[in-house]
């Protein structure tokens, strides 16, 4: 406990943008076959440092087969909430779940160069206390740390629906399930909220048998992956509206609400439209009657390709789908970054008018058939995937692995983990930094990135940007 609020807590997104730049990144390292232990890489991001752009420390966990994916902080700017203010917490611990093992590590990063495991929550405890499995997205909010899960109970995670559970933000004890009335929600992926407006939005990927051993083409073609998002009365813990984008919009993944809490809109990325292989972004908003609405505001076309260039999975389609697998919104709610993992492109859209996004910048790197090289001449395995934006919006970092078994299906000949960075132009535009290119240790791939002091997919702000 501190006497003064943690200096990395900011009342508004605007204040967070004015805060000092990030000195470190924490990036997931995962072993695709469980041969090695997973870990968190600490990356030096201080341009004045001798070790800038290098992995300067690694926290390697003792177990194997965890498969790290997403992770998050024990505390963020939501601690300054005027309602449930908990301003004297420290932003100090990373909550790192294994989505394959259901084990959760709490990693103390107070001194990033000496980051270490603080506590481990074994899968049995999670199963027993929540009936959920395969923990995923982390957000710090009212009452504690909220964790979404991808699976229910039972060995294949299909005994009961997946959902969200709450952890104590100081002791990291699992408190229990979040939902009181889940309505139609039967799959889970991401979630986020607007704390002052008291709503939450959650999304859907698929149930564990639909992803753990690879994408199931029959399920995809039968539109059996998730295609709805759910709106919740956050504090009443009740699903108030389920919005179905249409069954062809397969895999509604990342949910990105506007950071300014006076705004009642946000975005959701859809991996693939099974009618035409497009990738899509939906803008969702609350209308004057309080009902939630949505509209498809961005589509990205597939690129035709000959069958012999394509992996087994795509041969029949003779095209590369864009595969929109991650999106991220800058803190000023101006630019939406869209990772097109199949094409090998990172798009930057100006979403100042959220219903009329305009393509403002684009970087090509990797890709199923494109194999775009980095400006430093090196290759890039897979395509741009997990993306994170610096608080000031000037630097965009990303890595390349989607999920072990899916990487192997879409990119059977690629291997490796890379993290790169691009600079954002004064009036938009995106350009890769020639000198920032991190090759991960042999045998490990890279997934989500968290920035020291918070980033654009972590902090929830409780006061408007004025």
């Amino acid at each position: 406990m501190n006497i003064r609020p943690d200096p990395t807590f900011h009342a508004s997104a605007k204040l967070a943008m004015q805060a000092p730049s990030e000195n470190y990144a924490f990036t997931v390292m995962l072993s695709p076959d469980g041969e090695m232990s997973d870990g968190i890489a600490v990356v030096d991001l201080n341009p004045d440092s001798k070790t800038y752009g290098e992995i300067v420390h690694q926290v390697i966990v003792p177990n194997k087969g965890d498969e790290f994916h997403h992770f998050g902080w024990n505390a963020c700017s939501s601690s300054l909430s005027p309602l449930s203010g908990h301003a004297f917490l420290e932003r100090r611990y990373l909550i790192v779940p294994g989505i394959r093992s259901s084990r959760i590590y709490i990693i103390d990063v107070k001194d990033p160069l000496k980051a270490k495991i603080h506590k481990t929550i074994e899968p049995e405890e999670l199963f027993e206390k929540t009936g959920y499995s395969r923990p995923h997205t982390i957000h710090c909010g009212p009452e504690g740390i909220y964790v979404s899960t991808l699976g229910g109970a039972g060995s294949d995670g299909t005994d009961g629906p997946p959902g969200i559970f709450i952890m104590d933000c100081e002791t990291f004890e699992i408190i229990g399930r979040y939902e009181m009335d889940r309505g139609k929600q039967d799959k889970h992926y991401d979630f986020w909220w607007n704390l002052p407006q008291d709503y939450m939005v959650s999304s859907e990927w698929g149930l564990p048998p639909q992803f753990e051993n690879g994408i199931v083409p029959e399920d995809l073609l039968a539109n059996k992956y998730g295609h709805s998002i759910h709106f919740w009365d956050l504090r009443a813990r009740k699903n108030i509206q389920t919005m179905d984008f249409g069954e062809n919009y397969q895999m509604a993944l990342e949910v990105r609400p506007a950071h300014d809490p006076t705004k009642s809109y946000g975005f959701c990325g859809v991996v693939v439209d099974t009618t035409n292989l497009q990738g899509a972004i939906f803008t969702w908003w609350r209308d004057d009657d309080g009902k939630w609405q949505s509209k498809k505001t961005i589509t990205i076309d597939p690129v035709p390709a000959s069958a012999d260039e394509l992996p087994e999975l795509l041969k029949g389609f003779e095209a590369v789908p864009p595969l929109v697998t991650d999106i991220d919104l800058s803190l000023d709610d101006k630019y939406l970054y869209v990772a097109c993992w199949g094409l090998g492109e990172m798009h930057q859209y100006d979403v100042s008018d959220p219903l009329n996004p305009k393509l403002a910048g684009k970087v090509e790197l990797g890709g199923i058939i494109a194999h775009h090289k980095h400006p430093n001449g090196k290759g890039f395995a897979f395509g741009p995937q997990m993306v994170e934006i610096s608080r000031d919006g000037e630097r965009v970092y990303w890595t390349n692995s989607l999920y072990s078994t899916w990487d192997d299906q879409f990119y059977p000949n690629d291997e490796g983990g890379q993290m790169v960075m691009a600079h954002v132009g004064k009036n938009g535009g995106l350009e890769l930094d020639k000198d920032f290119y991190i090759d991960f240790p042999q045998g490990l791939r890279a997934h989500q990135i968290r920035l020291e002091g918070g980033d654009c997919s972590t902090d929830s702000f409780c006061y408007p940007s004025v």
Binding site: N2, I3, F9, P82, L83, H86, F88, Q197, T262
Partner: protein, 219 residues
């Protein structure tokens, strides 16, 4: 300065003290004005917070004012009240956890929030020894009053104490909220936010000790 003046001074002072504590709600007044994008939302929010605080104060003081009918038990009641306040202070000292119930309140229900926040922090209890001091003081100056009349007077006193305390609390919170909203800006919201948990718990213990001492040695 007479004892009575000092005790009424303590009512006002404890109001200021509660008012500057962000845990009693002034950041909510700032956020209400910013979220609704109009200045008038702030006085409305402050009034709601004040109402909730007043109800929490009177909710605690009223039972004690009714107990003053048991005039022969006055010392015991004051000792018991002092011990209760000390116990709350020790509880808050040991249990430094956050009251989770506050996180379940809808953001628009400010009076309810303020009521629960004051209850959870034992804000009303902090006033009890002061109130009993004032009530006891009246007792001595008007010793010939019948017990019923005394109780009636003390019920009125409880309302007056709760009201004056809430006014002082509201004024202090309103001043901080106004300065931050109009002049300093949100950056100062986190800068003015001090961890008062420890000081608060100790305050309760000190007030409890004062109550016991006053009961044992007169005032």
């Amino acid at each position: 300065m007479t004892t009575a003046t000092a005790l009424w001074g303590a009512v006002v002072f404890s109001g200021f003290y509660h008012g500057i504590n962000p845990g009693m709600g002034w950041p909510l007044a700032v956020s209400a004005a910013l979220m609704e994008k109009k200045h008038s939302a702030m006085p409305k929010a402050i009034a709601m917070l004040g109402l909730g605080h007043f109800l929490a104060m009177i909710g605690i003081l009223l039972p004690f004012s009714l107990m003053t009918i048991l005039i022969e038990w006055e010392i015991q009641i004051r000792l018991g009240a002092g011990l209760l306040v000390i116990a709350m202070g020790i509880y808050l000292l040991i249990n430094r956890r956050h009251p989770k119930i506050l996180a379940r309140v809808h953001p628009a229900r400010l009076a309810l929030w303020s009521f629960l926040a004051a209850m959870a922090h034992g804000a009303g209890l902090m006033l009890v020894p002061i109130f009993l001091g004032i009530a006891g003081h009246d007792d001595h100056s008007a010793g010939h009053h019948a017990a019923q009349l005394l109780m009636d007077n003390n019920v009125i006193t409880a309302f007056v104490v709760a009201f004056i305390h809430t006014m002082a609390m509201t004024a202090a919170g309103a001043i901080i909220a106004t300065i931050i909203y109009f002049w300093l800006g949100l950056k100062f919201l986190s800068k003015t936010w001090f961890n008062l948990d420890l000081v608060w718990a100790i305050s309760l213990i000190l007030v409890g000790i004062f109550g016991i001492t006053a009961a044992l040695h007169g005032h």
